[in-house]
C-alpha cells in the first residue's frame, strides 16, 4: 500500500483501518469493536480486546522460538561495560521481578514509580509492571526531590523502584537519597522502595521501606503475563506543565501496542531481527516507546545506552555504538547532532567507525534545523528523517514512511501526517488556514491508537488544555504550516512568536535563517520590547568551535544582512548578541522563556531541569556589557537578574546543584569566585582582577584592588538584622560555672574595645600580635580585634612549651603577647603566664604583654611590660572604626610544624581567606539561621580560626566555644553540652571520637542528642570503626558525617561531603568543594587521570584561601609546596580516587606524622632528642594507635658512654626534652635503643622499614638489598617485637 492510500483510508474509515492493523499483534482475546467513546469524551481503542505489553515484548517471541535471540544490549559508555540479554534471559528477569512486586502487594491498577538511570533494570522494571497490570510511571532519573515528590503525590504509587546511583559523564548522581528526600516531602506514603544496588562503593542510609532488588528477585516466584483490557492504562508519563502541578499522560495498552507495531514496520522500516537504537532516556516518551516497547514488540534488538553523544569519551561515541552492535536504524534528538557537529565539524569521528549497518537516521524531540539536517546527511550518507511527535501522542504525528513509499525529504519539514491524524492548521479564530499559512497545528478527533487517553486524575485539565480551544479538535500547542504538497512544517511552541509592528514572526523561522550563517553553531531568537514596533527580535548566537575569534561585529552585520535577505526588512533584526553557550534543559531544549524574561528585566525562576545555571550568569554579563533590553536602562539590572542565580549557588543544597556549580567553578574559576565574592560580602572597594597567578614565583593574588575589613563582614553587617542573636556561646571548663552568651551587639562592643586597647598600647596596622590564650572568649575577641585594626594575629596553641612559643614570637617579631594568668584543662590548672615569662626572656621584639584574668592565680607582672587587660579595657572607648585593608593585606600567621627544622609561619591574607572560609562553612555544615554550631577544636589551630571564629561569624551563625576537655568531669561532657545547647552541627576530631568510643556507651545514651543534624570530622581521615561508632551512636544514623580534609596551608576545607547532598562513604573525604581542583600525581610528576587510581594529592588551580607564603621565607614556601610538581600545589598527602571519583586520603607521603590530629614533623622531634648528651642519632616514625590514630616511636642510637645508662631513665629524659622543646603532644610512645638505623648506601634513612615493623607488618618490608647493613633489620625486629603483643 502506498502512503497516500493508507492515509486516505485511515481518515475515511479509521475504524476499519485500525481493526486491520490490530491483527498484526497478538491478543489474548481479539477485539470485535474498534473504537468507543465514553460520555466523558475519552476514546478507547479496541475496547473488548485483551493483551499484555510484557507478553508482546517477551513471551510471544519465546513462544515463537526466538528465545535465544538478542533482545537487549546494555552499553555503558561511562562504565565501559556491555551486557547482552536474550529474550529468554529478559523473560526470567522480568517475570521474577514481576513476581517480586506481586509479593510486595502490587496488584493490577496499582502505580509503581520507576526512578532509575539508563540501565537494563529500568526496562525490566517497566516490563515487570506491565506484566502484572501495574501502572508504571517512570520519572527521569536526576529530577530533583521536589519534582519527584510532586509526582509521588499525583500518581500515589505503592512502590518505587530505584537504583542507588547513576553516572553521568564524570559525575555520580545519587538517586537513593533523592528518593528518600522526596518520600519525606510527599504527602502520599509509599509502602516499599525496591533499590537496585549498583555497587559503586557508595553507602546509603538504609530505610525501613527499602527492599533490595536482587534479593527480591532471587527469591520471587516468576509471574505470568496477565490478560489486560486494551483500554487498561499501561503507564503514566509526566510532562512538564507550566502551572507547577505535573501533567500525567495516561497511555492505554492495546491501542498503544497497535500504534507502535505499525510505526516500526511502516515509519522506521525495520524488520524483526534488526537492531534498533533510540539514543534517548527511558524517562522520556521516546525511551518508553522506542527503547522499550516498540522495538521489543517488533522483535528488534534494542539498546540501552548509558552515555552522551560527546565526551563519553568523544564525539565518536554514537558511531562506536553503531559499529559495536550493528545498528540498523537509529533515532536521536537534533540537539545530539548539534553537539556532535560542534565538536566534530568535519565528521572525522564518523569516518573512524564502520557504520555501514545503519539504514536510516531518525531525528525528533525538537524541530531539526536545515543546517543540522544537511550536516547529518552529508556525513552519514543515508536518509536522515526528521519527524514530529509529542509525549501526548506516544508515537509519530508527522513522519516519513521508510516501510511504505519514502517521501522525498524536505528540509525543515517533519514530513506528512501519520495515518489517523487529520491535521489542519487553524487560526486564532479557529478557521482552517490555507497552504503555507502559519497557525496552530490541530488534529480532528478521534486520534489514532496509542494517543494518550487522558491526564491522570485530571480529565478536566485534559479537556481544558487540549480539547476545548477548538471544539472537535486536538490542539497540539505547536505552531506550524502545511505546504502545497501536504508537507507539515513545525515552527515551534505557540508562544515562540514575535509580533513586530503587527506582523507575527516565528522565532523558529528566524532561527532557521540565523543558523545558516556558516560560523553559527546554534542560536535562539527572542522578542525584545520596542517602543515603536511593539517587539523586535534579538538573536542570541553561539559561534562554532574554532570560530570564536571570528570578529564579532562582522558576524553581527552578516547575520543582520542574512535575515534581511531571507525574511525581509520586516523582521527588523538589528540586535545580535554573541554568547558562549545557551541556557538549556537537560533534555536539550533551549530556555527561550527564561531568555525572554531576562532581557525584559522580568523576574524569572530557574527551571529545575536547567542543565547549567551558570550559563545564565554569562548571558547576564554579556547583556549588561552590550546594554541589551532592560540592561540598557536600569543600572541595577545586573544585580537584580543575578539574584535568583546567586541565591542558588552560594548554598549548595542538592547534588545536581553541586555538580553544576562544581563544573562552573572548574571551567571558569575566576568568574565563579567573582560572583561568590561580589554577592555575599561587603566591600569598601571592588577588585580590579579576581586572580593573578604566577606559578614560577608561587605568588597568588586574589581580588587585587579590593578594600575591606573582615570584621565588618563578620560582625558589623549582622548588627541590623542579628544584633541580639547570640554570636558566641562560651561553655567553661567547669560545668558548674555559668556560660556566656555573647550577642553580635556585645561581640561588636568587646572587639571594638579590645581593638582600642591594642591601639593604646602602640599596635598599628601590620604589627604582629601573638595570642597565647586558653579557650576563653577573650581569645576570639583578641583575634577579631587584631583584624579590626589591621594587626596580624599569630595565635599560638596554649599547650605549646615556652621554647615553642618563643621561637614563634621571634620568627614573626611580635610586638605584643596576649595571655592569661592561667588556664583550666579538666581538673588541672596551668600556669600559662609562667610559660610566657620564660618564653619572653628570649624575645626582644615584645614590648607589651596583656594579661587577662582567668584562674586568679598569683602571678608575676613585669613592670613596664605586663598590663592587666581589665584595667586597659576601662581606659578606652567602645567604638573603633575598622581599618581599611587591601585584599592581600596579611590577616594572620599560623605556625605549622613542617617536616624539617623550624616551624613554618603560614601567612593568610584578608579577602581570599574571608571568601573561602565563609563559603566552605556554609556548605560543609549546611548552617541554617537558628542553628547552634559547635566545633570542639582549639582556636590555636587552623580549624578554630576558620570554623570557630571566621567562617561561622561571617555567616551570622551562633558558634560555641568550649574551654574544657571531653573527659571532664566525665566522658559524657561533649554530649552534655550538645543537649544543653541543642547543638545542630558538631565538628570534632577522630582522636576524640576514638577516645570517647572506648568509654561506656551510657555516657552517650544519657543525653538527648536529637538536635544534631550534621557531624563533622577533622584532623586526619577517620577510620571506619570510629566512623561507624560516630554514625550509629551520636548521629543515630540520621546525621551525615562530613569527613573533611584540609590543612593549615589551605585555610579552609578542601575535600568533604556536603551533608544531605553528597552520599557519604566511610574513610572517604569524597568530593572537592567547588573551586577546588584536586589531582593525583605519580612520582614523576605526571597527572594520573581516570578513576580507581592513587597518587600524590595536588591542587591544580589556586583557591582564595591558600596560604600566600611562609612568613619571612618565601623560598621555603615555594620549595615545600610548589617545587615537587610543576605549577600545582603539593599537599604532601597521598590519596586514592575510587571508581566514582571519591577521594580517600591515605596519609602523609613525606615525614610528617599526624598524632591526635596534630601534624608533627619528625625532624624537629629528632632534633630535640639529639640534643640529649647521651644520644648519637635518632629516627622517628609513626605507627597506628587505636586512640591517637598514630603514635610516635623513636629509634635511638646512643653514644658509647650512654650505653651504660639505665634505659628507662633515659627514655624519661628524652620525653621530657621533647615536652619542653615541642610540647607533650610529641612525646614518644615507644623508644627503642638500637645499634644502628636502616640506611641506604647514600645515607638515607629507610623509615619505611621501621614503620612496617612497628605496625606489625614485618613481612611486608620488601627489598632490603640496598641497605648498607641489612642485618640491622633483624635487630630492629627483635627490639620492636615485645611492643607488638
Amino acid at each position: 500500500m502506498s502512503y497516500k492510500d493508507a492515509y486516505q483510508k485511515s481518515i475515511e474509515q479509521p475504524e476499519e483501518f485500525w481493526m486491520q492493523e490490530s491483527k498484526n499483534i497478538k491478543w489474548f482475546k481479539a477485539p470485535t469493536q474498534a473504537l468507543e467513546q465514553t460520555p466523558e469524551g475519552i476514546y478507547h481503542w479496541f475496547p473488548d480486546g485483551e493483551t499484555n505489553l510484557s507478553y508482546l515484548c517477551i513471551d510471544q517471541h519465546v513462544e515463537d522460538g526466538f528465545g535465544d535471540e538478542l533482545a537487549l544490549v546494555y552499553d555503558s559508555a561511562v562504565r565501559q561495560k556491555q551486557v547482552k540479554y536474550t529474550y529468554n534471559e529478559v523473560l526470567e528477569k522480568v517475570s521474577k521481578l514481576a513476581g517480586g512486586l506481586r509479593e510486595l502487594g502490587v496488584e493490577k491498577g496499582d502505580r509503581v514509580i520507576i526512578y532509575m538511570p539508563m540501565i537494563s533494570h529500568s526496562l525490566f522494571s517497566m516490563l515487570a509492571c506491565a506484566r502484572i497490570g501495574a501502572i508504571h510511571s517512570v520519572v527521569f532519573g536526576g529530577f530533583a526531590p521536589d519534582e519527584l515528590a510532586m509526582r509521588i503525590d499525583d500518581a500515589q504509587p505503592k512502590v518505587i523502584i530505584t537504583a542507588t546511583s547513576g553516572i553521568e559523564v564524570d559525575r555520580l548522581i545519587a538517586y537513593k537519597p533523592m528518593v528518600d528526600e522526596a518520600i519525606e516531602k510527599a504527602k502520599h506514603k509509599v509502602e516499599k522502595v525496591v533499590v537496585f544496588n549498583r555497587k559503586l562503593g557508595v553507602e546509603f542510609e538504609h530505610k525501613p521501606y527499602d527492599v533490595d532488588y536482587l534479593e527480591l528477585t532471587d527469591k520471587a516466584k516468576p509471574a505470568d503475563a496477565v490478560p489486560l483490557k486494551s483500554k487498561d492504562p499501561s503507564y503514566i508519563l509526566y510532562t512538564s506543565g507550566t502551572t507547577g502541578s505535573p501533567k500525567g499522560v495516561v497511555r492505554d495498552t492495546g491501542g498503544y501496542a497497535v500504534g507502535l507495531k505499525y510505526s516500526m514496520e511502516n515509519i522506521y522500516g525495520t524488520k524483526p531481527g534488526d537492531t534498533f537504537w533510540a539514543a534517548s532516556d527511558v524517562g522520556w516518551v521516546v525511551g518508553h516507546s522506542y527503547i522499550v516497547y516498540a522495538p521489543m514488540i517488533h522483535r528488534n534488538t534494542t539498546i540501552i545506552y548509558e552515555g552522551k553523544p560527546i565526551k563519553t569519551p568523544d564525539a565518536g561515541a554514537f558511531w562506536r555504538v553503531v559499529e559495536d552492535h550493528k545498528v540498523n536504524v537509529m533515532f536521536t534528538a537534533p540537539t545530539a547532532f548539534r553537539a556532535i557537529k560542534k565538536e566534530d565539524p568535519d565528521g572525522e569521528f564518523i569516518k573512524k567507525y564502520d557504520i555501514s549497518s545503519l539504514k536510516y537516521q531518525f531525528l525528533a524531540g525538537e524541530r531539526c534545523d536545515e543546517t543540522t539536517l544537511k550536516w547529518a546527511q552529508k556525513h552519514l550518507q543515508i536518509p536522515v528523517i526528521d519527524h514530529w511527535w509529542q509525549t501526548e501522542s506516544g508515537w509519530s504525528i508527522v513522519a516519513n514512511y521508510m516501510g511504505l513509499d519514502p517521501l522525498p525529504v524536505k528540509p525543515g519539514s517533519a514530513g506528512k501526517p501519520v495515518p489517523g491524524y487529520d491535521i489542519e492548521i487553524l487560526s486564532e479564530e479557529g478557521e482552517s488556514l490555507p497552504a503555507n499559512t502559519e497557525g496552530y497545528i490541530c488534529s480532528k478527533l478521534p486520534l489514532p491508537p496509542g494517543f494518550m487517553q487522558t491526564l491522570w486524575n485530571n480529565h478536566e485539565r485534559y479537556k481544558n488544555g487540549y480539547l476545548s480551544k477548538f471544539p472537535g479538535y486536538y490542539f497540539s500547542g505547536d505552531g506550524g504550516y502545511i505546504d502545497e504538497e501536504g508537507y507539515v512544517f513545525i515552527t515551534g511552541r505557540i508562544d515562540d512568536v514575535i509580533n513586530v509592528s503587527g506582523h507575527r514572526l516565528s522565532t523558529a523561522a528566524l532561527e532557521e535563517v540565523v543558523s545558516k550563517h556558516p560560523s553559527v553553531a546554534e542560536c535562539a531568537v527572542v522578542g525584545l520590547k520596542d517602543e515603536l514596533k511593539g517587539e523586535v527580535p534579538l538573536a542570541i548566537v553561539v559561534p562554532k568551535m574554532g570560530e570564536e575569534d571570528y570578529e564579532s561585529y562582522k558576524m553581527e552585520t552578516e547575520i543582520v544582512q542574512l535575515v534581511r535577505d531571507k525574511i525581509g526588512p520586516i523582521a527588523a533584526l538589528k540586535n545580535v548578541v554573541i554568547v558562549k553557550r545557551l541556557p538549556k534543559t537537560r533534555s536539550g531544549k533551549t530556555l527561550r522563556r527564561t531568555l525572554r524574561k531576562l532581557v525584559a528585566g522580568e523576574s524569572y525562576n530557574l527551571p529545575s531541569t536547567i542543565e547549567d545555571p551558570m550559563v545564565i550568569s554569562e548571558i547576564i554579563e554579556t547583556f549588561s556589557q552590550q546594554k541589551i533590553g532592560a540592561f540598557s536602562k536600569n543600572k541595577d539590572q545586573v544585580t537584580q537578574s543575578l539574584k535568583a542565580l546567586t541565591k542558588s549557588y552560594y548554598n549548595i543544597d542538592s547534588l545536581a546543584k553541586y555538580m553544576d556549580v562544581y563544573r562552573i567553578s572548574q571551567n571558569d574559576p575566576e568568574n565563579f569566585w567573582n560572583t561568590i565574592a561580589e554577592r555575599n560580602f561587603e566591600w569598601k572597594k571592588k577588585w580590579d582582577t579576581v586572580l593573578k597567578w604566577n606559578p614560577e614565583e608561587a605568588r597568588a593574588t586574589w581580588f587585587e584592588g579590593a578594600q575591606l575589613n573582615i570584621t565588618e563582614n563578620a560582625i558589623d553587617r549582622h548588627l541590623k538584622t542579628r544584633g541580639n542573636k547570640t554570636a558566641i556561646i562560651w561553655e567553661p571548663n567547669n560545668p558548674e560555672e555559668k556560660e556566656q552568651r555573647i550577642s553580635y551587639k556585645e561581640l561588636s562592643e568587646r572587639v571594638n574595645r579590645m581593638a582600642n586597647v591594642l591601639k593604646a598600647n602602640g599596635i598599628q596596622k601590620g604589627d604582629r600580635v601573638c595570642i597565647y590564650l586558653p579557650m576563653i572568649p577573650e581569645l576570639a575577641v583578641a583575634t577579631l580585634a587584631c583584624a579590626r585594626i589591621g594587626a596580624v594575629h599569630s595565635v599560638v596553641f596554649a599547650g605549646f612549651s615556652a621554647s615553642a612559643l618563643a621561637s614563634r614570637v621571634n620568627d614573626s617579631d611580635c610586638k605584643m603577647v596576649i595571655t592569661s594568668d592561667g588556664s583550666y584543662r579538666g581538673s588541672k590548672s596551668i600556669d600559662l603566664k609562667g610559660i610566657v615569662d620564660e618564653a619572653l626572656e628570649t624575645t626582644p621584639s615584645v614590648e607589651t604583654c596583656l594579661v587577662t584574668k582567668r584562674t586568679f592565680a598569683k602571678i608575676d607582672m613585669k613592670k613596664g611590660r605586663d598590663a592587666w587587660l581589665h584595667d586597659e579595657l576601662k581606659k578606652v572607648d567602645k567604638n573603633c572604626a575598622p581599618e581599611v585593608m587591601d585584599a592581600e593585606d596579611m590577616l594572620f600567621i599560623l605556625y605549622t610544624s613542617g617536616s624539617t627544622g623550624t616551624p613554618k609561619g603560614m601567612v593568610h591574607t584578608t579577602a581570599g581567606y574571608m571568601v573561602y572560609s565563609a563559603f566552605s562553612f556554609k556548605n560543609v555544615f549546611q548552617y541554617q539561621e537558628n542553628d547552634v554550631y559547635w566545633c570542639t577544636a582549639d582556636i590555636g589551630w587552623i580549624t578554630g580560626h576558620s570554623y570557630i571564629v571566621y567562617g561561622p561569624l561571617l555567616n551570622g551563625a551562633t558558634t560555641l566555644m568550649f574551654e574544657g576537655v571531653p573527659s571532664y568531669p566525665d566522658y559524657g561532657r561533649f554530649w552534655d553540652i550538645v543537649e544543653k545547647y541543642k547543638v545542630n552541627q558538631f565538628y570534632t576530631a577522630p582522636t576524640a571520637i576514638r577516645a570517647l568510643a572506648k568509654q561506656d556507651i551510657e555516657f552517650v545514651n544519657k543525653y538527648d542528642l536529637s538536635s544534631l543534624k550534621v557531624l563533622g570530622s577533622v584532623g586526619e581521615p577517620i577510620n571506619e570503626e570510629a566512623w561507624n561508632w560516630y554514625n550509629e551512636n551520636i548521629g543515630k544514623k540520621t546525621c551525615p558525617i562530613v569527613d573533611t580534609w584540609w590543612q593549615t596551608e589551605t585555610g579552609g576545607i578542601m575535600i568533604s561531603p556536603i551533608p544531605f547532598v553528597t552520599p557519604t562513604k566511610p574513610t572517604y573525604a569524597t568530593l572537592p568543594l567547588p573551586g577546588i581542583q584536586p589531582s593525583l600525581m605519580d612520582e614523576k610528576g605526571n597527572e594520573i587521570e581516570g578513576n580507581s587510581v592513587s597518587g600524590r594529592l595536588c591542587i591544580k588551580h589556586p583557591w582564595p584561601s591558600m596560604a600566600r607564603t611562609v612568613y619571612g621565607n618565601h623560598q621555603r614556601y615555594k620549595d615545600t609546596y610548589f617545587s615537587a610538581f610543576e605549577n600545582v600545589y603539593f599537599t604532601g598527602d597521598g590519596a586514592l580516587r575510587d571508581e566514582v571519583g571519591y577521594y580517600r586520603i591515605t596519609g602523609r607521603v613525606d615525614d610528617v606524622i599526624i598524632v591526635s590530629g596534630h601534624n608533627l614533623g619528625t625532624a624537629p622531634i629528632e632534633d630535640a632528642i639529639n640534643e640529649h648528651p647521651a644520644v648519637a642519632e635518632s629516627a622517628i616514625i609513626g605507627f597506628p594507635h587505636n586512640v591517637k590514630g598514630n603514635a610516635l616511636a623513636g629509634f635511638v642510637i646512643l653514644k658509647n658512654d650512654g650505653e651504660s645508662r639505665n634505659k628507662e631513665n633515659l627514655s624519661k629524659e628524652i620525653n621530657q626534652l621533647i615536652s619542653s622543646k615541642i610540647g607533650p603532644i610529641a612525646k614518644l610512645d615507644r623508644i627503642h635503643f638500637v645499634s644502628g638505623l636502616p640506611k641506604t648506601r647514600s645515607g638515607k634513612i629507610m623509615r619505611r622499614i621501621m614503620r612496617k615493623i612497628s605496625a606489625g607488618e614485618a613481612d611486608q618490608i620488601g627489598d632490603v638489598s640496598t641497605l648498607l647493613d641489612p642485618s640491622i633489620v633483624e635487630e630492629i625486629k627483635e627490639k620492636v617485637e615485645p611492643f607488638l603483643k
Binding site: Q37, E40, G41, E424, L426, S427, E428, E429, G430, E431, S432, C442, L445, P446, E460, K463, N464, L467, S468, K469, F470, P471, G472, Y473
Partner: protein, 124 residues
C-alpha cells in the same frame, strides 16, 4: 445563571463546548438532534441556543424556524449557529431564519464565547 441549550450530534463538540461554557458560568443543556432540541427549548426556555445545522431527524434550519415562530421563545431566546456549512448562501439562509450569529466549523472556543457574551449583554 444564563441557560444555554447546545444542540449538536458530534460528541467531541458537545464535550468541549459544554465543558467551557460551564467553566464560564453558564447553565448548559444538551440536545443531540433537532427533535430533542425543540422539546428541550419548549421546556427550559433557554436564553440562548447553540445550534448545529447538519443533524439527524430534524435539521438545524427546522429548529431555527420553530424557535423564530414560537410566541414566547422568539422574544426570549437567541440562536447562534455553528456549522461546517461554509457557503455564503447557507449563512444568509440562517440569518434570514432568525439566527443572531453564524460561526463556521472549525471554530475557536474563544470566538464562540465572545459571540455568546455579546448577545447576552445586548439582550439585558
Amino acid at each position: 445563571m444564563k441557560k444555554i441549550l447546545l444542540v449538536d450530534d458530534e460528541p467531541n463538540i458537545i464535550m468541549a463546548v459544554e465543558y467551557t461554557l460551564r467553566k464560564n458560568n453558564y447553565e448548559v443543556f444538551i440536545a443531540r438532534d433537532g427533535e430533542e432540541a425543540i422539546a428541550l427549548a419548549e421546556k427550559l426556555r433557554p436564553n440562548l441556543v447553540i445550534l448545529d445545522i447538519m443533524m439527524p431527524k430534524v435539521d438545524g434550519y427546522e429548529v431555527l424556524e420553530y424557535l423564530s415562530d414560537h410566541d414566547t421563545l422568539k422574544n426570549t431566546t437567541q440562536t447562534v449557529i455553528i456549522s461546517a456549512k461554509q457557503k455564503e448562501s447557507d449563512v444568509d439562509k440562517a440569518i434570514e431564519l432568525g439566527a443572531k450569529a453564524y460561526i463556521k466549523k472549525p471554530f475557536s472556543m474563544k470566538k464562540l464565547l465572545n459571540t455568546i457574551s455579546e448577545l447576552i449583554i445586548q439582550k439585558s
